[in-house]
Symmetry: C2
Subunit: 98 residues, 2 copies
């Protein structure tokens, strides 16, 4: 049995770790805020958001603030559950004694 | 300043996290042991070892056990230093409050 067994490949990238980490302590965040926090390009952020959304780990809510479209991202129940499992597996791996 | 600022891209993959984690608590390990622990292919392990060696994060010692060649891998002083910085950055990211 691999010591990597519970590491979730979908979260195995620093940008995705960053997105999920800030969504654990914030109900939702918009694209601009995520982009500023992570300091990455629009395209880079969009591709990681798409991958997380595809797994149903994050959900997207589109609305208007005044006349301006606003897109909010938040973690789904599944996303929160799976991310916490991933963090536990990371912690186990980092502290592994063989 | 990005919340990802101290995350080390070289360690940003579960296999490399696994290699460095087990080398933190073992002076050295050989290829077969690493391969069994991580449950990955020879090629996959070799490519990640090469990337870590290129950054001088791991060192390789070749010797003979009887007539059989034996290759041992261990973390360098730099590797240990940088990996611990990476783990601190990961911990900071995972617990981030914005």
């Amino acid at each position: 049995m691999s010591i990597l067994k519970n590491i979730n490949k979908v979260f195995d990238h620093r940008v995705r770790l960053g997105i999920m980490s800030v969504l654990m302590t914030n109900d939702s965040l918009d694209f601009i805020t995520l982009k500023k926090l992570l300091d990455i390009t629009d395209g880079n952020l969009a591709s990681h958001i798409k991958a997380l959304e595809k797994e149903n780990y994050i959900k997207i809510r589109k609305s208007f603030i005044g006349r301006k479209p606003n897109t909010q991202y938040s973690s789904t129940h599944l996303g929160t559950l799976e991310f916490k499992k991933h963090l536990t597996a990371l912690e186990h791996l980092i502290n592994i004694k063989i």
